[in-house]
């Protein structure tokens, strides 16, 4: 660390940095500019503590102003959706060739597994000729918008750690999520709403829960705020029974007057912050329920997304994502549970539950892309779709028997598919290839950390430099291993 970094790091460690920032802005602003001019220093955003979510410029011109991230919890099968493998069909039902089993650890497979051919028909779409299965008929029409990475790799093959790795860059708990890094780096455009919002569907929360949108060691104001589909969209946004908006305003007016008196008595800047945060809370009580209510959306929009107000659904969340994006939220994260197709029961089997899940997401995802495009927002919004790992070309064979009625595949960390669309990425391309069975990557592998580096690049940051000093290390989203921006997919 050089001197400037050191000073910054010191400063950030101090809970009381705000006083310094307020009183020495020119000095620090000067340092900021100097540090921007020097190539190799870490970048550590400095916020005005009285409005920690105010917009900040990134290090260089960004391609994406915001991110909508659609995570299919449980890891959808790439072999049934995007990674078309005719060879797999030839081997369907045959014993898995030995070279695939040697030295491999599986989560659930026992006995000698059989190869499972693609369960659905594939065809080519758009001018790009992307192979997309008949499970995603509507998305197929958007093929020329998609940048499909078929060569994603992770080193985690259990759901919890793998989800953490995708969302926080580390398989352990306690690290800031992508959305926290983005909001910390950029602030947000609408001071009436949190900068990082999370929506959940599928009936269950991912197992590691809030850690997937936690702020880790970053200040807690940058953590994702989970909005719920039933009850208060933000916890405790509604007044208690018997407190009207007018009564609350009157009560707050008194509270703020009394708190200003306390500020006079003690001169504690925290009191000043508290006064401003109570006002933000008051605004959020209106702005959050407003933005979260889809009732007033016109009928054709509901028709396009397949939304039903008041129901918890992925479709509702896609529409909400567009509304949040329109309202200046920086990072919008959707989790949809139920994609873990082992074939152990009807609910998740590829030939049953998986089919239904595909039906349930195809329409809203397509609607979201259409809607963003029609509103002129797609070129500044990055949409990402993916899971936490891939699935094996082998049929899962629980218990070692044969002839399962439910078709499933095991976890495969060696290869999975993720796509992006919108701001800053090349539309209508496929990147990376897997082997003829779809088991391993054979060209252009993309590690999770490479994806993170690319995402931050699109937001205007060098992932090697966006760092926060913690536990003696300049912590980064990409961790300590080398990560590269996938330049070939940048528009």
């Amino acid at each position: 660390m050089n001197l400037l970094q050191h000073l910054r790091a010191e400063d950030l460690k101090h809970l009381t940095r705000r006083h310094f920032l307020r009183d020495c802005t020119t000095g620090l602003g000067g340092m900021w500019l100097v540090s921007q001019a020097m190539g190799s220093v870490a970048s550590t955003p400095v916020h005005d503590p009285s409005s920690p979510l105010a917009s900040l410029p990134p290090t260089f011109a960004p391609k994406a102003k915001r991110v909508i991230y659609l995570h299919m919890v449980g890891a959808p099968s790439q072999l049934e959706l995007f990674d078309y493998k005719p060879t797999l069909a030839k081997y369907d039902g045959k014993d898995c060739p030995a070279e695939f089993l040697e030295g491999q650890r599986f989560a659930f497979i026992q006995g000698t597994p059989k190869i499972l051919g693609p369960q659905f028909d594939f065809s080519q779409h758009g001018q790009s000729g992307a192979w997309i299965s008949d499970r995603f008929p509507r998305l197929g029409a958007h093929a020329d918008k998609l940048c499909i990475i078929k060569s994603m790799q992770t080193d985690q093959f259990n759901h919890g750690p793998a989800q953490l790795l995708v969302h926080t860059g580390n398989q352990n708990l306690g690290y800031p999520s992508m959305g926290s890094w983005a909001t910390w780096g950029l602030g947000t455009d609408n001071q009436n709403l949190p900068g990082f919002m999370v929506l959940i569907s599928g009936g269950r929360v991912p197992r590691v829960g809030a850690s997937l949108w936690g702020s880790g060691f970053l200040p807690s104001v940058y953590q994702g705020v989970q909005c719920r589909s039933t009850g208060d969209p933000v916890l405790n946004a509604a007044n208690p029974p018997g407190v009207t908006r007018d009564i609350r305003r009157a009560a707050l007016d008194s509270l703020q007057k009394l708190n200003r008196r306390t500020l006079d008595d003690f001169g504690d800047p925290e009191t000043l912050t508290r006064i401003s945060q109570y006002e933000m809370a008051f605004r959020m009580q209106i702005s959050v329920p407003e933005v979260m209510s889809i009732k007033e959306e016109p009928a054709h929009i509901h028709e396009m997304y397949g939304t039903r107000p008041g129901k918890e659904s992925f479709a509702n969340n896609c529409l909400l994502a567009r509304r949040l994006a329109e309202n200046g939220v920086r990072f919008i994260q959707l989790f949809d549970w139920g994609w873990d197709s082992h074939g152990s029961n009807k609910g998740e089997a590829i030939n049953h539950g998986f089919k239904n899940k595909c039906d349930a997401v195809d329409r809203p995802i397509s609607a979201l892309l259409t809607d963003l495009e029609q509103r002129g927002m797609l070129d500044e919004t990055l949409v990402v779709w993916g899971g936490e790992f891939g699935r094996t070309p082998m049929q899962e064979n629980r218990g070692g028997g044969s002839g399962n009625a439910f078709v499933g595949r095991d976890h495969n960390p060696n290869a999975f598919t993720l796509w992006m669309a919108g701001a800053g990425v090349k539309p209508g391309i496929s990147y990376g290839e897997t082997d003829e069975m779809g088991y391993n990557v054979v060209s252009n592998p993309v590690q999770v950390r490479d994806f993170h580096a690319t995402l931050l690049h699109l937001l205007g940051f060098d992932a090697k430099k966006l760092s926060f000093p913690f536990q003696g290390l300049d912590q980064k989203l990409i961790g300590v291993k080398p990560a590269k921006v996938v330049k070939d997919i940048l528009a």
């Binding site: 940095r17 208060d232 018997g242 407190v243 009560a251 536990q471």
Partner: protein, 965 residues
Amino acid sequence: MRRPSLKTHHCLVLLAFPASLDLSAKVDFSEEVRPILNAHCTACHGGVKEAGDVSFIYREKALGKGDSGKPVIVPGDPDASEMMARILSSDPDEVMPKPEHGPPLPQAEIDTLRQWITEGAEWGEHWSFTPPKIHPAPDVQQTDWPRNDIDRFVLAKLEANQLAPSGPADRAALLRRASLDLIGLPPTINELDAFLINPSEEAYEAEIDRLLASPRFGERWASVWMDLARYADSEGLGIDGRRTIWKYRDWLIDAFNRDQPFDQFTIDQLAGDLIPDATLEQKIATAFHRLTQANNEGGTDDEEFRVAAVIDRVNTTWEVWQGVSFGCVQCHSHPYDPIEFNEFYEFTEFFNQTRDADLAEHSPLLRVPVDSKRNSEVNQLNEQIRSAEKELHATRTAIDSRTTWHWPSGMQAVGDKTKLEVKKHDGIEEYRTVGNVTKDSTFELTFPTPDPLTTLTALRVEFWPTDPETAIHTPEWGADLKKIWMEVIDADGVSQKPLAAVIADEAHPLFNPNASLTGKGRGWGTYSKTFGPRHAIVLPKEPIALPEGSSIRVHLRQGGAILASFPMVSERGRIAVTDSVEWADHLADTEVVSLQRQIEEARNQLKRIPTTTVPVMEERDPAFARSTRQFIRGNWLDKGEAVEMAGTPRVFPPLNPRSDKPDRLDLARWIASAENPLTARVAVNRFWLELFGTGIVPTPEDFGSAGEKPTHPELLDTLAVRFSSDMRWSVKTLLREIVLSATYRQDASVTPELAKLDAGNRFLARGPRQRLTAEMVRDHALAAGGLIQHRSGGAPTHPPIPPGVWTPFQGNDKWDTPKEGAPDRYRRAVYTYWKRSIPYPSFMTFDAPTREMCNKRRLVSNTPLQALTVLNDPAFNECAKGLARVMKYGTEGDIDAKLAAGYRQATSRTITPDRLSELRSLYNRLESEYKADPATMAMMAGTPDGAAFTVVGSVILNLDEALTR
């Protein structure tokens, strides 16, 4: 010519540390040189990377020659030192730091380095790695201000910086501060009144003593320690199911209440199980390291998460007691501090020999009476069982060593669901599985009766890992013997022979081995994972005659799948038989019978005592010791060199082990020793931090060279030495001394000038003013609302939770809140059920950690979600109603008197006229609005004044003063 050190370039720090400017003294390595090296050099030339074979962590290496062949540093001769040449070089290919790595060093730093080399380039240990010393309290000018030596250290620094201390805090504010700091609760109105009428010094001391003696004291400080201990009532990873471990929390509260000396407190938690004649309490204390996360999600590898827990124990031990982030060393030598890669794994060995292994049952579990008065009785019964088991095991091991076992020749092995083959290894026939194995398989092993046997008195079953050499450090999946039965085949046909006992190869098996006789229960096995060959001895009901030409057939039913996926099937095993008479008589042996009776009786007595369980630390039988290996780059599957012996890093004072096999108890005593340079410093700093909001070392989590230096090093060292000597590690004595200081008792108000000079209050020219902790926010509101219920200890509670929050992965995991009025609804925060994946929302909003890992410091935030919580959360709404009742019914007099009482209840302050008039006008307005709108009123209260008091109560609970101490 000396220049200001690195930090003094900073405008704030320039003001903060002018005292450190000394223009003549010798350069101090730790103070001045190490920071320069850390800032510019060690990223490439440090513990992780040694670019060009140059490193600045150790002196010997820095004085050596790098790849260039030129001496890096020549003591006394900067011009001959390659380091200086490279720093001063104008050649962009030569200069250090490389231009792409950073700008050239400032002249001041170059001067410092030059002077340091001229003076001999002496190395110094980092300040916190050298033993603390007592420093005499410095002389001060304002002699009438200090009350004790703390004040003299603080005042000397203030005076050196032309600052003056603040006046004393308002007495009510002081009692509030001390009460919340020490017991986590505000003073009651009666306590305030009693204190305010007696202005003597003794009255304050008496209040402090009352607070220190309160049973609420332990509840407050347990919360602090629970962050460090990563305490939770759920197991963490994966499913995050419930884990019964609350007896540890009660132990912790009790330990603080009885002021258990911090050294003993440390030893009990780290190694209570190894203390000779350990009490039940000492064993419960070891749950500290059973609070690591577990993963019982289907398909997860128990060894992976056992290793993760061991690593977490290592890191947590360092973070909690030594204030050093040791975690870096898992992958490489420490980037800044002289702790080496291999030392991490030597330290890991201390923790790598316990029995717990990420098992679904959380075993080993200790049975603990619900009523702690019966602790010693239960401990005695537990010990009776263990000692009888030990004796039985010793007897059996001795017989086994005298037994001649006969191995089969011509064995046939047939599996029903798993394919088997017979292979010879070291001349012994073994069965091996072929291909993938299937759960619940039965193995049928048939072999001719070995010569010259005519009777069978015992059978030996061995389960082997396929490769014992690697299994000892990287275990294989284990196996269970679900059921065993045997037959003899002779001319008359096949006859089944009844079996009487299965004897395990360990004294205290986790499951009853005899269950293998019936197939009901888990029975004998290696369970989950196996590190080496294991065996059981099976005794028939009576000696079995083996006619000439007969064969023996043994059926081994293998275990089911654990974690929904891993079949507990033995992939390799052996069988042997004997005719030893000793086994024939064994079960009838009077001593054996008596031992078994003792075990049974003790178990029966235990059954009559209401008990709960707590997971504890327990060593493995040394016969099954694991081999600890280094992990290459921290990857547990990539094993490096074996660790020969547990040890502590060389940079610290030596470990004094009791034997040539150092164990956890040796380690615990090493940590809890006055010779350890870090333990007392880190502890004192932590308690100081709670009272002042910032530690004397502002980075309590890092006492290494990457952390910040103490603002008052002499004060810290003096307190640390005294804590471990004349205070006898008494936390209460330490806290008492701090809160009696004039420093602590100062007024907290800050002038704009002072705020500018010392924003962070590092100099302590004013008293502390802190926001309440997450726990205090709840407890304070309950107390102000007159709702709080004090009851010590017990199972976790489930206070009201906002709707829609409780969505556990397991559907049967219920959050049952007691109904309004029921005492358990209003217990203190420390008792609230703590689920790591769904933490109690208001705690999270107020900066409590999720406690997945050791949390060394809570960062205090100030967010709108906090406002929404105290304004709208149903639990806080209930408190507002309570406060309304206190005002309306609990207070005599007119509206003003009631409002004043409500305000005082929540802020401990007497209301000022302007505040009262504000509250009165709000009250009047609300009352008339509710009167005009009875429908709205009815949602809140039965009468307009009741509704108005409730809203006013909520305003009072949301005051900055109510959320602050």
